[in-house]
Symmetry: C2
Subunit: 621 residues, 2 copies
Amino acid sequence: MTATIDTTTDQFLGELGQQLRVDSVRATSGAHSGHATSSMSAADLMAVLLGRHLRYDFDWPDHPGNDHLIFSKGHASPLLYAMYKAAGAIGDEELMTFRTLGSRLEGHPTPRLPWVDVATGSLGQGLPIGVGVALAGRRLDKQPYRVWVLCGDSEMAEGSVWEAFEHAGHERLGNLTLIVDVNRLGQRGPTRHEWDLDAYARRAAAFGWHTVEVDGHDIAEIRGAYDEALAESDRPTVILARTRKGRGVRAVEDREGMHGKPVPDEEEAVAELGGVRDLRVEVERPAAATAPRRAQGVHADLPRYTVGDDVATRNAYGEALAAVGADREDVVALDGEVADSTRSQFFADRFPDRFFECYIAEQELVATAVGFQVRGWTPYVSTFAAFLTRAHDFVRMASVSRARLSLAGSHAGVAIGEDGPSQMALEDLAMFRSVHGSTVLYPCDGNQTAKLVAAMADLDGISYLRTSRGKSPVLYGPDEDFPVGGSKVLRSSPDDVLTVIGAGVTLHEALKAADSLADEGIRVRVIDLYSLKPVDAATLRRAAEDTGCLLTVEDHHPEGGLGDAVAGAFSDGGPVPRLLRLAVTVMPGSATEAEQLGAAGIDAASIAAAVRRHAAGHGTV
Amino acid sequence: MTATIDTTTDQFLGELGQQLRVDSVRATSGAHSGHATSSMSAADLMAVLLGRHLRYDFDWPDHPGNDHLIFSKGHASPLLYAMYKAAGAIGDEELMTFRTLGSRLEGHPTPRLPWVDVATGSLGQGLPIGVGVALAGRRLDKQPYRVWVLCGDSEMAEGSVWEAFEHAGHERLGNLTLIVDVNRLGQRGPTRHEWDLDAYARRAAAFGWHTVEVDGHDIAEIRGAYDEALAESDRPTVILARTRKGRGVRAVEDREGMHGKPVPDEEEAVAELGGVRDLRVEVERPAAATAPRRAQGVHADLPRYTVGDDVATRNAYGEALAAVGADREDVVALDGEVADSTRSQFFADRFPDRFFECYIAEQELVATAVGFQVRGWTPYVSTFAAFLTRAHDFVRMASVSRARLSLAGSHAGVAIGEDGPSQMALEDLAMFRSVHGSTVLYPCDGNQTAKLVAAMADLDGISYLRTSRGKSPVLYGPDEDFPVGGSKVLRSSPDDVLTVIGAGVTLHEALKAADSLADEGIRVRVIDLYSLKPVDAATLRRAAEDTGCLLTVEDHHPEGGLGDAVAGAFSDGGPVPRLLRLAVTVMPGSATEAEQLGAAGIDAASIAAAVRRHAAGHGTV
């Protein structure tokens, strides 16, 4: 049957909740896996939202006026898919493909479905990203769409959730509603606060949120809570809903040990829930809205540095970012309270309305940017490269979300000098190279940095740029091109005994070494490998054929960085040259930049010594 | 002069505060870098603590009764070092080595100094670790020492801080005092809440903490606050101190743009602060305390699995951990609310007093373990491997802290099947390999897992064990040894055309491929590379010499994992074999384990196909 009754009545919404439960049971039982009970606890909450409050055009997922619904508790995907079915977006046949090879209905939602903004399943990420979407609504899009986030109670233990509470409270995001499905039971057992809704309410209120506590199975109460959230324009609202995990099926309801699995008896459960239904909801469509303009700039006004001048690549990052921002009004910048160090301050000075201070909360920093790109903005995120490790899981999930995201990490490596190891990024290249589909760039001079910063705006996926604290001489003219995936051969002769490959600070050390070795009559090729991923395999292969040995030098731990990138370029079964690697194997302390590079064995003297050993010993050190 | 007056009077403590400021100014000016103003704001807070409330024997840093003082705002290291000088632990000459090559007085504190428990400088880590130390005091050591943590106000934005608030509040850690130096100014400008102490107090109180608000430059108020904290035995206390950054020096006091640098005029500043002093504090020593027993077990009772049985390595992890726990009472286990999945539940069942449920808060999970090892306990941390990325920065800093820490990540790779990419660890090997001094282990069967779990208890630094969700046949007998840094050659003949190198699930696929290829008359060597770091370079080199080509197969992204580890073993300038690499380059969806391995091209069929191509084409694919 297709419902012809008023689909906004409480009676209909109650029936709809049961249908969402039944379909969650059917999908998980059909798949022999998945989270039935976690779906059933939130079914009434979602029935009311879908039937009465959500504004969404399922035929036009990119409608600029659409609300955003983010299932932070991504394991409740059966419930989400049941909602899509009730809204007519998918059919029952597709629903029953849940968790099978090739299905869009994955175990946890991903944007393979056009109505899913971001992948969830790593708990505590939906709210932080939702804050980004809501902030875009208020300060960038200036559109009246609302953001609805469904969280589980277990994930309220994640610090990222409280970074988001703080951010949303401070920004007074009245367009954001968080629904917490307080079903009392985590995966292993009871949560810290079980059904103590007040415990959550006290915390949320302290962070500046409007709080509502409801019985999450009482349609009228839920309806009232959403109405209250809609009426609150100046503060975000959290609806704390007391629910029962597995609600409606005695064999699993409020029982431990029932997480993440189908109900034991599908037929019995469906009968207990009143049988299969086929209710359809005509979800109300959003008001007309205008899509924001999305410029594709030509980057005509990039900064131009004079060859030989001393420029820090972090400075070039900030200046280039400001130039890109001038060309493209879709570009926004975010920073973790170190804009004066990363130099995103240059952008902030010119475009204060498109700059977002996210304070020292790197997870929320990245999540906000993910939220911005959901709305079509082009975000650049910056902080110290070392502290981007704080957001590793958010970056990982952003790749599953097919997000377009540019990140810049400053203060790379031991070269930062006196501040010591806590501030030194020595693992960042490994982290970003390992991200699916990522681009990893590490420029050595100002003009190269500027070109790469501009290029990032048009890259898909996760792009990472590593910048340096200290100044270094400009090597390239401002009109030189630096394609992503390319490299530059800076020294080359027919007599090269070896190829030195560096990037960033070590490229300069390599050049110094090459020039001093040339005085001794030892010639080496030098390659600037500014693109670590994708890597310029063709140039490396030519160097291998010509010189027989590649020496990589990097201001990074030996694992996962430049050396691994070069070796990885030869994993096609073809001949592999001899390989030598200089990297940071010591635990640094405080010292000057030059002392640090020397102590780590990655300065010009160390490079020259390694080359001499190779030249003398025919390939062994 | 050496003070002969009563060093606990407010007058003395005020003078001591000025001395700490003067010495902070002198150290930073001498170094031409460092955080003078951030030290000066907290000087009175620390003077009172040092002079009256801290119980610490500086001659005996390992005294089991010592209090613990953690500078979460590690950039205020000049203040900490000035305290050490005032306590007689270091001399003025060493103070003035601040930030120079070879000095123990690094830009941010590290345990190169015997009085420093953990490295700080990545903000928001000191409190989470302090919670671990305090929890050890209450539930493991059962000793009356207290934990004092000094935070800045900027770092209160970090979610990890609120994970710690939640943990400490829930555990009612009355032995923990947090001092927040609310100096209003972050690095770039004002903090979100500036001097709104109530904003912090509301939040802290909501998380179950006792709160005290004071003028951080009023000695009597500070003294009263500490007394109040000492009197509160059933709740942690946070002292919110309103302070002025750069207090006492007009040129910098409460001014923006003065973060992270010396004062502009040292002489003027020292004069303004009343000149150089040489006050000495006899810090009160702790009461006698007994050091806990620290067994070095022989692991006689490890589980023994029968060759051919199907065992999940995560199960073997849990069972072995319980066995190690039976042998060694210093072993403790912590989990992020997934003990039923990681199987640390087996340990929890046998040793509930040494098991710690840390809920879904991976930063606090790792931080608590770091705190435990500060007290000499031997922690094993487990959660899904994918979610350990959440704690990347804590792991990174733990290595700077020279921490001894064992981590186990379950649910590795696409082999987990239907749950999809959000739950799949495909970057964890890269992350852990890149950690300084780490050990990375990836067993393929039950007996191997058990031996490695036992070995981890005696390893220095950060150790990581990757376990699998699904079952696989036991390959090795229970008496076989698996040294860290070793490998096993499982198939070998004089006719091997190539060497296949796998670990975990891909090792089993490699064996299947080898056996089916053998039926076709193609022989391959198979190596089980269970130790990715350190890696068994000798065995790899022999395989290279014998077979000429190494094919790595891994359930991980191509970057930073097994393939990179193998290639890295040949970076000594010697001859390098041909290299082939199979790894996960697709974005997975949901599917069965077998389908996932096939879709990713890392199953037996894919391996066999790659070998055949190599055998046919003499080394190119």
